[in-house]
Symmetry: C2
Subunit: 219 residues, 2 copies
């Protein structure tokens, strides 16, 4: 995920924002537990006193960084070009293509902060888990309207639930990030995104649900 760079952060917010941006970088690279408050202060160039002025604990920082992640990445997707396509299926495929376009650099640069933190915090910190869930499932929900419209316009032969398919797109991405980390190779993400694209195309393929003349209902 390529994040937009803040150019006009208000001065009073800059320490907090620097800490949040540092947390995004460090947690994606080495995980939440291995990232210490000292690491965060050093990377953000702030004192420990400044850290604890903004966050009572590393857990509070983790919750805040999940929200920060949702907002910054949410802005990227909200302003993306795929929303302008007329056909809802094209908008869904456009979203998938954008996810492929965003795979650049190393896994620490393109992987998901919320997925990484979930992995470590799901049993130890319900607050962090819930903030990660809000980020992942909130993002999935942004796909539901287009998927519902695509299903309504062109009902697949098999039963497809828009919310479930939206969550599945995120499962594919999260898992592909793990495989890319294991293989140390972003190509593994791209091939799973291609399988996801193919799945969506097959669901809506005319060949598997030829148009059937609708029987007129009698009153």
């Amino acid at each position: 995920m390529v994040l937009p760079t803040s150019t006009r952060t208000p001065p009073e917010g800059s320490t907090r924002t620097r800490l949040l941006d540092a947390a995004v970088r460090l947690v994606r690279a080495k995980g939440l537990n291995a990232t210490t408050v000292d690491d965060l202060c050093a990377a953000a160039g702030v004192s420990k006193g400044a850290f604890f002025h903004h966050f009572d604990s590393k857990e509070r920082l983790a919750v805040a960084v999940a929200d920060h992640w949702s907002q910054t990445t949410g802005a990227v997707f909200a302003s993306a070009g795929y929303h302008d396509k007329a056909d809802p299926l094209d908008r869904v495929l456009g979203y998938i293509d954008l996810r492929a376009d965003l795979i650049r650099g190393t896994a620490a640069e393109f992987s998901c902060l919320a997925g990484t933190m979930t992995q470590e915090a799901f049993e130890s910190s319900p607050a962090v888990r819930d903030a990660c869930a809000a980020s992942i499932f909130g993002h999935a929900a942004t796909l539901e309207a287009d998927l519902s419209a695509a299903i309504a316009a062109n009902p697949p032969a098999v039963t497809v639930n828009a919310a479930s398919l939206a969550r599945h797109t995120q499962a594919v991405l999260q898992g592909a990030f793990i495989l890319a980390k294991a293989a140390d190779d972003p190509a593994v993400v791209l091939e799973s995104i291609e399988h996801l694209r193919q799945y969506v195309q097959l669901l809506f393929s005319p060949a598997i649900h030829p148009p059937v003349p609708k029987a007129k209902k009698r009153p």
Copy 2:
């Protein structure tokens, strides 16, 4: 993943095996970095001296536990009933159904040790990353022969590479585990496994690749 319980561990191997089994439980529940040597010794009921007799460091333990995981889970899949089905596509679908059957209890019980460790160690420990990659991609490779046979028996209309599709099955599972951890709900895994099953079925659906009479080649 439900692991078989060792009933006849040789006495000289028992300390090492107890440490490895404890590591599987603890790392799946809270991650590699949050699991200390003290935690491992307490959970295994062994002394710190015994730990360092078997493993030079926690990193060495992590590499060994990835191998242990590959062997114990590999044995479960190697002896599973899906291998007995005559049709290669049925064997692939049988594997997917087994993955769904194994989703029981909490995410700490059904999630993948190798995927969890990869998330934390991919930048900090190439040795752990490589051991996790060997586990994940080694398991994926066990599906390749059946996928290749299914493709040969019934070539899909779209290009499908057996090795790539095998890796994709693991991406779906790994990502579904993350979503289940975030949602604190195993149902999220089951729905993604169902999407994976549907994708495989659609790829091999007769409707999207009606049999075409082969043109005879002229010499």
